[in-house]
């Protein structure tokens, strides 16, 4: 299911250990929410953007930007209205449209939202879900929660196909909207949708006891520790990456704050 977000590749971001990628994600996310000068802010953003370009290419990297473009326009239009401090840059009669404070805040919000969006996009684009869960396990995620995430991810395509099959079945039985396709009736459409969702829910809920029994049969709930199919790279092998990342963090922190 996560194949929609993960794209196979051989870039350095694809090869980077997922545990380090999680630390990078947190580190840069925090920087985007700190009050740092605008120039430094966009310098960090450029670093992330250029690194991401090598991993995905421009076309792919612009996809999340296209999704958030309407929101970026809204930020551009609405944010200056909330900031009247600083020099007046644009006015119409007595009405102040844009001030220096408003412009700075707008640019900061745009940079922040773009930066965070690209950070998460590139993380999910270059990290497989099983690697992500293994990394979370390394950082202390419990076996049960990891199991819940794994089952959820595996169940989504199944339930999606149940939903699609149910919609098709309802269409074949000529429900309200199949009979009068041109007419738009909200309450009838809502009722129609609810009957589809009820069928999906009953199918899903009935499967819970069966899934629970399957888990018990596979040994879930036993006292002995669970086995692992895959293991992550040892810390020894990861040492060069850790040292390199440490110096990179140090340089960025020095540049941003000093």
């Amino acid at each position: 299911m996560f194949s929609e977000t993960y794209r196979k590749g051989n870039s350095f971001l694809h090869r980077l250990d997922p545990r380090l990628k999680i630390i990078y994600l947190l580190f840069f996310s925090v920087i985007f929410f700190l009050p740092v000068p605008l120039m430094k802010y966009y310098a960090v953003f450029s670093l992330i953007f250029i690194s991401s370009l090598f991993a995905t290419g421009l076309g792919d990297l612009l996809k999340p930007v296209k999704i958030i473009t309407p929101l970026l326009l809204l930020i551009t239009v609405l944010t200056p209205l909330f900031h009247s401090g600083g020099d007046v840059l644009l006015s119409s009669g007595n009405m102040i449209i844009l001030t220096s404070d408003g412009l700075r805040e707008t640019l900061q919000l745009i940079g922040r939202f773009l930066g965070v969006t690209i950070l998460f996009f590139i993380f999910l684009r270059t990290t497989r879900i099983d690697d992500f869960i293994l990394a979370l396990r390394y950082f202390g995620l419990s076996h049960r929660i990891a199991l819940v995430i794994t089952i959820t991810v595996r169940y989504i395509p199944y339930l999606l196909s149940v939903y699609e099959n149910t919609v098709d079945a309802h269409k074949m039985r000529l429900t309200v909207f199949s009979i009068i396709p041109g007419r738009w009736n909200f309450s009838a459409k809502f009722r129609d949708l609810l009957s589809v969702l009820t069928s999906v829910l009953i199918q899903a809920v009935k499967g819970i006891p069966v899934l629970a029994m399957a888990l018990e049969t596979r040994g879930f709930g036993r006292k002995n520790p669970p086995g692992r199919l895959r293991k992550m790279r040892s810390m020894k092998k990861l040492l060069p990456d850790i040292i390199l990342s440490f110096f990179l963090f140090l340089i960025i922190v020095y540049y941003v704050f000093i």
Binding site: I67, F82, V148, L211
Partner: protein, 185 residues
């Protein structure tokens, strides 16, 4: 305690119910979307599934399933940057709805009568307050107060659809599959 009560108390049952409900929340969020301009880009029926989970399965399942399901849906829908926020906000929303509904159920067990209106109104107010306030607070930091405020009407509408759909679905599923009433923990 009957055999089925014992069964619903097992860790395997709890893991299975949370996982299936998380998948349901994700499907409801992904499959049915009404596009809107502000912030997250679309109104969805994820809240219907969260209300359903809280009404049928209780606050803990609704907390994890609501948070995890919406976070996964955000990731799959290309809104990964909202996933941590969705996890916290929708998780808390599910938990609060479940808690309020627990109080109503206890009152009814003690002989009181809440009525269908109150059964829907109190969870709606509690759930909508948490969700709207949570997204607004997060939105202020992410996109600024102007864009964050534009999202409020959509979120209220989403909760309204959630409570209406959640109550209807809970009643329909209880009728079609009566053992589900024992799944609450």
């Amino acid at each position: 305690m009957t055999d089925s009560d014992k069964f619903t108390n097992t860790a395997a049952f709890r893991v299975a119910s949370i996982a299936v409900l998380s998948a349901i929340v994700a499907i409801f969020t992904i499959a049915v979307r009404i596009p809107v301009a502000p912030t997250r880009g679309y109104i969805n029926l994820g809240d219907v599934a969260i209300f359903f989970a809280a009404f049928i399965f209780g606050p803990v399942t609704a907390f994890i399933a609501g948070g995890l399901g919406t976070a996964i849906a955000d990731i799959l829908g290309g809104f990964g940057q909202w996933a941590p926020i969705s996890f916290v906000v929708h998780g808390l929303q599910g938990f609060i709805i479940g808690l309020v509904y627990n109080i109503i159920l206890r009152k009814e067990e003690a002989g009181g009568k809440a009525g269908i209106f109150l059964q829907g109104l109190l969870p709606f107010v509690a759930g909508a307050s948490v969700m709207v306030a949570g997204y607004f607070a997060a939105g202020i930091f992410m996109v600024g107060p102007g864009a964050a405020a534009l999202e409020i009407p959509g979120n209220v509408f989403q909760n309204l659809a959630g409570v209406i759909g959640g109550i209807s679905l809970a009643a329909a599923v209880k009728k079609a599959y009566p053992p589900v009433v024992k799944f609450r923990w």
